[in-house]
């Protein structure tokens, strides 16, 4: 580093730290080049082989394996360049005190390389993994890079919070609910008042609508969230904070298929891809309420709601059964075995076939009352 930057007034301590990390990254390149060495980055590997399940903490942690990315390697030169671009983009955002979506960053950095007909990034799908690389490289969260993903997921329930200074009462959100932003860090969102006793997380919007319309959260005094499938980080981080700061237990109502299992797994232990963030997102005490493989019989559902398992489903189910955090749990092994025996999967909406409000009036309350869940 040649010149000392004037510290930004607006930048928080956290931002200062991130900026220092980014600068160190750039200094490394300059230093290597000055010594006529090949500049390289050691990026922690984001793969199943480099994650470790900690039975004590009950979360997935990232291992120590790294992948070296070199500038002077034919197959890595471009991604090296892209990594440095993303780092410079993040620097720019932090210095200006602004944030953007990952798609916005893609447009910010996308341009034609001088003297070539090549784009720095051809598609956003090329940019997203590089952003994750920079996150793990700097051990910074995406939020700390002033980036956010597309907003997904809603919340409703008896809680009052402050979002960027605005007071929001989540019990007065009408039919749409409060859209969970992708950055829910304490700087942005503070909890003001909460009367709810637990959190019910459902898989998707349609089911969430059912519960909201039936005022389930009001009757049972809970918070109701959904993550539109695999929950984005904002939703997971919010669940973490609700659980840890307000001591609310988290229950999940998900589809009875391998994907539902994995959504639960991600909420509970963290994801393999972003294992380094588990400690700030995973909720190891989260419970799996349903749907269970035994529910077809137990609830007396009709044959027409069955969806046959395909080969991918079977393969994925076996894979999940083999994950270390499921391997030693007998109820889970039974659950997955039963799914494979059934040969079909069930969506939460299948319960509607019995009665429209069966899921809110009978199924969920019964499960909660009987403490009938998987851990």
């Amino acid at each position: 580093m040649t010149k000392k930057k004037t510290p930004l007034k607006t930048a928080s301590d956290k931002d200062q730290q991130t900026l220092a990390n980014l600068t160190a990254l750039a200094d490394g390149v300059v230093a290597a080049t000055r010594r006529r060495r090949d500049p390289h980055l050691d990026i922690p590997a984001r793969s199943l082989s480099n994650v470790r399940y900690s039975p004590r903490k009950k979360i997935i942690e990232m291992g120590k394996n790294t992948n070296r990315r070199q500038l002077f390697n034919l197959s890595q030169a471009k991604s090296f360049m892209q990594t440095m671009l993303v780092a410079s983009g993040a620097t720019q955002l932090i210095e200006q005190g602004k944030s953007t979506s990952i798609r916005g960053l893609y447009y910010l950095l996308k341009h034609t390389i001088e003297g070539a007909k090549e784009e720095t990034f051809a598609e956003q799908s090329e940019c997203d993994p590089v952003i994750e690389d920079v996150e793990v490289l700097l051990a910074s969260l995406r939020e700390e890079l002033h980036l956010y993903a597309q907003k997904r997921g809603d919340m409703v329930g008896d809680i009052v919070l402050l979002d960027s200074g605005d007071e929001i009462d989540c019990s007065r959100m009408g039919s749409g609910g409060y859209g969970i932003p992708s950055i829910v860090e304490p700087e942005v969102i503070q909890f003001k008042k909460c009367n709810a006793r637990f959190v019910l997380h459902v898989e998707k919007d349609t089911v969430w609508q059912r519960f909201n319309e039936d005022k389930f959260w009001h009757k049972h005094n809970c918070l109701l969230t959904h993550g539109a499938g695999q929950p984005p980080r904002g939703v997971r981080r919010l669940l973490y904070r609700l659980h840890n700061e307000l001591k609310l237990p988290v229950y999940c109502l998900l589809d009875n298929d391998p994907w539902g299992y994995y959504i639960y797994s991600v909420i509970k232990q963290g994801s393999i891809n972003l294992a380094f963030e588990s400690k700030r997102m995973a909720v190891p005490a989260a419970k799996f309420l349903g749907l269970r493989s035994i529910d077809f019989k137990r609830c007396g559902l009709s044959d027409s709601v069955k969806i046959a398992l395909n080969d991918t489903d079977r393969r994925r189910a076996k894979q999940i059964a083999g994950y270390p955090w499921f391997a030693h749990k007998k109820p889970w092994q039974r659950e997955i075995k039963k799914l494979l025996e059934n040969g079909f999967k069930l969506e939460v909406e299948a319960l509607i076939s019995r009665e429209i409000s069966y899921v809110t009036e009978q199924y969920t309350p019964e499960r909660l009352k009987n403490r009938d869940w998987l851990d």
Binding site: M1, V30, R37, P39, F72, L74, A77, M84, A87, G115
Partner: protein
């Protein structure tokens, strides 16, 4: 029965077996006639020490329908020494008359059948005699003959001037006579012109007169050729070498190359009184000591009379020769083209970017000295690429190929079946359509496709074969040259090759065998017989140019690859420098400069090869030697 048996004249035999001499079909007849005349003409000039200049003129004489439709008049004139008056009828009107058969000396023609056979073919098909005009010098009168062959008696018959020909006085008066008799003659101080009218078919493409003259120009860079084809197109091949090839020496036969029958005949003809004298005088490399050893082995007296040697004894002598060790014949009797002239000749005619040539030292097969030369041109675009739309239309009109695929594969050199299919697919024409039935628009598409399809992969090596500087155009499959080219492994020289196939790529190879006696597989002189000694020399020569091509291609590939590597890095370096400097405010340009230095170091490092012990090996010097010509394709 016995009454029906009688002599068969040689002429009569050949009249009935014209295919033996290369007159099997009208198309080939035209080529053979031109070929015999041109070969003789060049031989005559060289023997007289004159740089040859040849005029070839083919005219269509038929008026478009009926019998005369396929009639052509072939005129070949040289600037040679001319022929003595009394020799003319014999040379052109008697089969098996010539100066070349009885001697062992490298020359184009060998048996003395060629030109008279062409004349006879013309006479048989059109009834027109052979016309010969010959001029020995400016001051002496020239002679004009019209000769027919009496096939029964193998004798020339002079048709004009009451059986005596016409004498043309020198100077101005001569010109009037030439005009009066309608003689075709390009004004020259000396030379010979042969005109034969024959039934034939003119075609472009493979096995055509055009091709023959082109190939002749490659192997004979000291010859100038002027050619006017039946459509009045003129094509000239300029002389690129101003020196005549060294005059080949005549040698006596080597004992190893003589068969028993020949030995008996020689014994009968010889004037030497004793067997020892006979062996020493008639053969090369037979010293008195060697002769004595032969006699001892044959168990006959050294002073035995040649007249009294019985057939059995002759056989004994023959066996004895095979057992006796006799040194190889002198090889200085051969005059190769030479590497430099091969390069010049190839470059003149075949476009390309890399040329290599190799002349092997002389060697011997069955007592006959021979020498192999190979030239190679790389990077020539295929004939299919170069063809113009007009000539494509012409080719399509002339072809007798039944399908388009066949037409493409047979008309264009080095165009394999794969490439033909590619072209047809690109053009969107049906595969089995007859070329003649193509519509104008389809021909347009075809022409576009031929120019645009990348034929490099589908292109196969084009092999030009020569024997004593004469191109061999037919029976490629049966020829030792093609067989050796095919069996040579070209993959190690950077060309693709399937087993038992010619290698692929834009390559032209010319192979020349020079010998006092070229072992042809048939009288039509189209393929060389595969003697092991010849094949070995062929292989060595091919490998020698192959190695050079390999070196060139490797280097070219490497330079390209290195450039690409460096480019990839260079492309990103500027981006990296900008990004880094925007993060930590470092001096962008300085960083960029430094990154460039690292890039240079890295790319050169990656190119250093390591030996077994992990130590870097010195860069392979591209030492291609002298016999290579590299042309910058731009």
């Amino acid at each position: 029965m016995a009454a029906d048996q009688r002599d068969i004249s040689v002429s009569e035999f050949f009249a009935k077996n014209r295919h033996l001499l290369g007159f099997d079909n009208p198309r080939k007849a035209l080529l053979t006639a031109v070929k015999e005349a041109v070969d003789n003409a060049i031989d005559a000039c060289e023997e007289a020490g004159i740089l040859p200049e040849i005029w070839v003129h083919i005219q269509r004489t038929g008026n478009g329908n009926g019998n005369g439709r396929n009639r052509y008049k072939v005129g070949v004139q040289d600037n040679g020494p001319g022929i003595l008056k009394k020799q003319i009828p014999l040379i052109f009107g008697k089969l098996l008359y010539g100066s070349k058969f009885h001697r062992l000396r490298m020359s184009r023609g060998q048996q003395g059948i060629g030109i008279s056979a062409a004349g006879m073919y013309g006479l048989l098909t059109t009834g027109k005699p052979v016309k010969i005009m010959s001029k020995v010098s400016v001051r002496k009168p020239a002679h004009y003959y019209e000769i027919a062959i009496d096939t029964k008696r193998n004798r020339p018959e002079i048709v004009n001037g009451r059986g005596d020909g016409v004498d043309i006085p020198p100077g101005q008066r001569g010109n009037k006579t030439i005009e009066k008799h309608g003689i075709e003659w390009i004004e020259a101080n000396h030379g010979t012109r042969v005109t034969i009218e024959l039934e034939a078919k003119h075609q472009h493409g493979r096995g055509s007169v055009d091709e023959y003259l082109e190939q002749t120009a490659i192997a004979n860079p000291h010859v100038a050729i002027h050619y006017i084809d039946p459509d009045d197109n003129e094509k000239s091949y300029a002389r690129v070498a101003d020196t005549l090839p060294a005059e080949p020496k005549e040698i006596k036969p080597h004992p190893y190359g003589v068969e028993l029958g020949r030995l008996v005949a020689m014994l009968k003809d010889t004037r030497e009184p004793t067997i020892t004298q006979f062996l020493i005088k008639s053969f090369s490399r037979v010293s008195p000591a060697v002769a004595r050893r032969i006699c001892e082995a044959a168990k006959i007296g050294a002073r035995a009379s040649t007249k009294k040697i019985s057939r059995h004894q002759a056989d004994m002598v023959y066996q004895a020769i095979q057992q006796t060790k006799i040194s190889a014949p002198a090889t200085d009797c051969i005059s190769p083209i030479g590497e430099e002239l091969i390069l010049k000749g190839l470059h003149q005619v075949v476009p390309g970017e890399f040329y290599a040539a190799a002349t092997r030292p002389p060697s011997v097969y069955r007592g006959n000295p021979f020498q192999i030369e190979v030239g190679l041109a790389y990077g020539s675009s295929s004939a299919a690429h170069r063809v113009t739309q007009e000539s494509l239309i012409e080719l399509i009109e002339q072809t007798d190929a039944r399908t388009l695929r066949q037409f493409l594969a047979t008309t264009f050199d080095g165009l394999g079946a794969d490439a033909a299919d590619k072209i047809i697919k690109q053009a969107g024409v049906k595969t089995r359509v007859a070329p003649r039935n193509l519509k104008v628009k389809e021909i347009d598409h075809l022409h576009d496709a031929m120019r645009n399809v990348n034929l490099h992969d589908g292109q196969t090596m084009n092999v030009l074969r020569y024997a004593n500087r004469v191109p061999l155009q037919f029976q490629a499959g049966g020829c030792a040259i093609t067989q050796t080219v095919t069996s040579t492994n070209w993959r190690s020289y950077g060309l693709g090759q399937s087993r038992g196939q010619l290698p692929r790529g834009p390559v032209t190879v010319m192979v020349h065998m020079a010998s006092v006696w070229v072992p042809f597989t048939s009288e039509s002189k189209e393929a060389i017989a595969a003697y092991p000694e010849i094949q070995k020399e062929l292989r060595l020569a091919l490998q020698s140019v192959g190695r050079k091509l390999g070196m060139y291609l490797r280097r070219r590939r490497k330079v390209k690859h290195e450039g690409q590597r460096r480019n990839v890095f260079l492309r990103y370096l500027s981006e990296v420098a900008t990004a880094v400097s925007s993060i930590n405010q470092t001096d962008r340009d300085k960083l960029y400069e430094q990154l460039l230095l690292v890039a240079r170091k890295k790319t050169s490092e990656a190119d250093v090869q390591l030996d077994d012990r992990g130590r870097p090996i010195d860069e392979e010097e591209m030492n291609l030697g002298k016999n290579v010509l590299i042309v910058d394709p731009s």
